[in-house]
Every structure is written in C-alpha cells, then in structure tokens.
C-alpha cells in the first residue's frame, strides 16, 4: 500500500448551470491513477491547461472529483469520517506557486507559520514561539523575521515561509504546486536544495507539480506526464524519462532553452 493512491480520477468543469439543456462540460481529468510511496517524490509535468493544478486540488481534498478515489494511508480522503479527515489533513500540506497570494498580507511571519500548529498542537505561547523560530531557522530565515509582514520579504523568502508553514506539522506528503515556477533561477535552485534537504530530514514525500521539466528532473524520483487531463506516461526512473520517445515528452524537452542565449537555436524559436 502506497502513501497516496490515486485511483481512476475523472473530473469535469460545468458551465451554463441555469438551464439544464445549456450545460457545457469540460473534462479536465480523465481516468488518472498513480501511487506515491513514502519518502519519494513524484514529479508531474505538463503544459498549461493539462489539469495539473486541478489534480493537486483534488488530492488536497478541496475539490471533490466526480469519479474515482484518493486513498491516503489507505483512507479515502473524501469518504472518511471527520476525525480521520482531520488526521489526513495534518499529514497532507501544500506549497503554492504564488508566494505572495499564499500568505495573508495582514499577518506576521509568526502568525502565518503558527496557524497550523494552533489548529493541531496544544502548545503554550512560549513553546509556539520557539517552534516557529526553529522552523524559520530550518528554512534559512532567522528570529529577526518573526514580526515582519509579507511585504517586507522577497518572493524567495516568502516561499521559505510557505515551506515552513507546510512542514510545521511534520506532514507525510506535501503537494508542491508549481512552487518554484515564479522564482528566479538562483532562488529556484536554492529552494529546490532546501526541499531536498527537508525530504531527507523529515522523511517527506512530495507531489511536485510543474511545467518546468528541469526542476522536476532535479527533485523527482519518478516522473509523470499530464496532457489534456490524461496521465499519458509514468516513468519509474529519471533515465526512462530522459530517453523517452513520447512526442509530448520530446516536445517539452526540446522547448527547454539553453543556459546561454548564444546556444539557443533560431529555428526552434521560430517553431
């Protein structure tokens, strides 16, 4: 039994609900199944509109799918009783792409990170503060940042705060929904390094959703390709992904820009 089992998920968005005959259905997830083992990272890559974020929401328990099951440690997260759902939620956290919209602009770093702890742990004020400080230090920030507001941080620092909030409850699985996509190259590699370290230290599992196959390649143990709501390939190793002849994978791999503009092919850009 894997940590997370996604079984035949189907989901559509409907529009024109007022009149029944006018309902338009847009299928965003089509028969998706995969498993994530404890302590591993599954990278899900796909272009915009492939259904990556919807799948993330379905797994996080905030978007019930129309068909299929999400089993977390063997429990169906949508059909489990309230107590079990609360336990599951504790072990299932998220880091979003947009670090700025992921934090309430009116709260300090301390309030942001302590929110999950307040909900699940019975800590005294002093214990809560020391836990938050240790979390801040773990993600590369310091005690001085405790009382700062989001506008006083850079995008990378805010993403560190989001990561601190996500790991505060020592979850089993973190859904990283394009978590490094909005960061610059240097910050991106620093955050990826931090995520790798945390994975080791806390025995975390990740579902790394991204359109950036380089980032996915650097952190994932297994890789899946999502295209038009379907999981078209699931590679058990990075090598399989690297040597894949799947046209979508080839197209995505070809679209990676070279590190230096001089080496970027003009013909590729024209295409």
């Amino acid at each position: 039994m894997g940590l997370l089992e996604v079984k035949q998920i189907n989901h559509s968005y409907h529009s024109g609900k007022l009149f029944k005959w006018n309902v338009q259905s847009n299928k965003v997830l089509n028969d998706i199944s995969f498993t994530i083992e404890e302590g591993t990272c599954l990278g899900l890559v796909g272009t915009s509109g492939a259904g990556k974020s919807t799948l993330g929401k379905v797994i996080l328990g905030i978007q019930p799918p129309q068909q299929g099951q999400i089993l977390f440690q063997g429990y169906d997260i949508y059909r489990a009783d309230k107590m079990t759902q609360r336990k599951i939620r504790r072990n299932l956290q998220v880091v979003f792409q947009d670090s700025y919209s992921s934090v309430n602009p009116r709260l300090t770093a301390e309030s942001i990170i302590s929110e999950p702890l307040e909900n699940y742990e019975r800590l005294t004020v002093a214990e809560l503060k020391s836990t938050v400080i240790s979390l801040l230090e773990r993600v590369g920030l310091s005690e001085k940042d405790l009382n700062k507001y989001p506008h006083q941080f850079s995008g990378g620092q805010l993403q560190r705060i989001n990561i601190a909030r996500a790991i505060s409850l020592k979850p089993k699985l973190i859904v990283l929904d394009e978590s490094v996509s909005s960061l610059d190259m240097v910050t991106q590699s620093l955050i990826l390094e931090l995520l790798k370290e945390l994975k080791q230290d806390f025995g975390l599992s990740y579902l790394f959703i991204t359109h950036d196959i380089k980032a996915a390649f650097s952190i994932s143990d297994r890789l899946g390709v999502l295209e038009k709501g379907e999981l078209i390939e699931l590679y058990e190793s990075k090598e399989q992904f690297f040597y894949s002849k799947n046209p979508v994978v080839l197209q995505m791999r070809d679209s990676i820009l070279a590190e230096h503009p001089r080496f970027r092919s003009i013909t590729k850009r024209e295409i």
Binding site: I62, Q93, S101, V103, N104, L107, P116, R165, L169
Partner: protein, 276 residues
C-alpha cells in the same frame, strides 16, 4: 515630526479639513448640553420669531424656541440616528455578505435574490408603507432605512469575500485545519473591514440625508424633538418672513453631508478602493 505632519497636511488637504470639520461636529453633539444657551424644547411665545440677540444667538422659531440650541441638540439626533442606521445596516450586511460570499451555492443565490427584491422597493415607498401600518415615527423610518441599506453593504462584502476566497492563503488555511469561523475571523474580516470603513463615511452622509428628508416630509422625528430635517419642515411656513429658520439647519446638513462625502471620496482615492 512637525515636518511629517506638515507633509500630511499638504498632501491630504481634503482628508484633514473634512476630518477636522467632522470632529468639531461630533464634539458639538457631545457637548450640546453644556454649550447650548437655552432649552431646545422650551416654548416661549412672547419671544417668537426673534432676530439674533445675546440671549438667542441665532434667533428663535415660531414657538419662541432658541434656534442655536435646537441646532446643537438636532446634531445629536441627526448624527446619532444616522450612526445607528449605519452600524445596524453594516452589521446585517456584513453577516449576510460573508455568509453569501463564503458559502456560495444556493445560499448565496437565495440571499442575493432577497437583496435584489429589497432593492427594488424605493426607500420612500417602504417608509410610507410602515407609516401606513404603524403611523409616523422615528422607529419606522430607521427600520425602513436599515432594511434598504443592508443590501448595499451585503453586495459589496459578498464581492470582496468572493475574491478573497480564491486567494491561496484561504486554501492554505483550510488545508492547515482552520475552521470556517477561524478563517472568517482571521483572514476574511481583517481584509474586508478597512475598505468598508472608508465606504461607511460616504454612507453616513446618505443616512443623514435620508433621515432628514423623511423628517422634512413629516414622516420621521416628531415635534418637539429637535432634528435638522424636521426644523426645515417647521420653518418652511416662514420662508418669506424668516428664511433663517430653514437656512441654518439646511447649512448644517449640507456641511456634514459634504464633509462625509468628500472624506469618503478622498479616502477611497487614497487607498484605491472601488465603490459600488
């Protein structure tokens, strides 16, 4: 410190002037019993329709009552009840707006359709309906104005909550195990209240106007209670001989409504808040 203060005065002239005027008016309402020269309801027919004098600085009305005292006490009634209308309608609008926006679905549809139904009825018609049932009086006017006004707040707040709900930090809070109540208290209310306070300044002006209009029509505050709208109503029979009876309360209404409106406009411009 002084340089900073001067900078604020220069850049936010309208906000500063309007705030000072409103503060003075509020002070006037609070200090009315101490600064009013005479009893505002004491009838003295021997001194009726007098010109300004030492005893009666703004003269007297048709029943010999001191106009200045009535204006000072009238500020209490006008501002006090306008505040009551504002706070009550804001509270109702806040609760309904948050429920509709946060819950969505059929609850949202139901509450908003009820609101639209209420909006379709003009203020005056609703007041006339209540007056027809319970007779003329302040209670009926206040109830009618609250019943109409909450819808505007509810619609604005619902819109704000709908956009806030889509923010990632609300989703993150849900995933972090926060209850609905905690999310509303910690994440939604603090983000909704500041723009509402700005919009409230505009609404206060309208509430004073509405209340005074109803009193002018004889539907609201009943004699002998001093109120600016009612004072204009009483003074209209003497418009040719003693226009001051209408001018003074009229000027007060204008001053307070203009101050509230300009302050509201300036604040919403300053903080980039869109109004309905």
């Amino acid at each position: 410190m002084m340089a900073q203060f001067r900078e604020i005065l220069k850049s936010q002239t309208v906000i500063v002037i309007c705030s000072v005027v409103l503060c003075l008016l509020f002070l006037m309402t609070i200090l009315a019993p101490w600064i009013a020269p005479n009893d505002p309801v004491a009838v003295n027919l021997a001194h009726k329709l007098q010109s300004p004098s030492m005893n009666y600085p703004l003269g007297t009305d048709h029943l010999g009552r001191c106009t200045l005292s009535r204006i000072l006490y009238g500020a209490r009634t006008s501002l006090g009840f306008a505040m009551l209308i504002f706070i009550s309608s804001l509270s109702i609008g806040l609760i309904i707006g948050i429920i509709a926006g946060y819950k969505g679905g059929w609850i949202d549809q139901l509450l908003m359709r009820i609101g639209e139904g209420v909006m379709a009825v003009p203020n005056l018609l609703l007041v006339l309906g209540f007056v027809g049932i319970w007779g003329a009086g302040l209670k009926q006017v206040i109830l009618a104005l609250i019943l109409v006004q909450w819808v505007y707040y509810a619609r604005i707040i619902r819109g704000m909550v709908l956009s806030l709900k889509e923010q990632n930090y609300i989703t993150a809070a849900k995933i972090s195990g926060s209850s609905q109540w905690k999310i509303i208290k910690k994440h939604i209310l603090p983000n909704v209240l500041p723009p509402l306070a700005v919009m409230g300044t505009l609404e206060m002006g309208w509430a004073i106007m509405d209340l005074s209009s109803m009193s002018f029509l004889g539907l609201g505050i009943q004699p002998p209670t001093p109120e600016w709208g009612a004072m204009i109503h009483e003074g209209k029979s003497y418009i040719r001989t003693n226009p001051a009876l209408m001018i003074y309360p009229g000027l007060m209404i204008m001053l307070i409504v203009v101050s509230f409106n300009l302050l509201g406009e300036a604040l919403s411009e300053r903080f980039g808040i869109k109004r309905r």
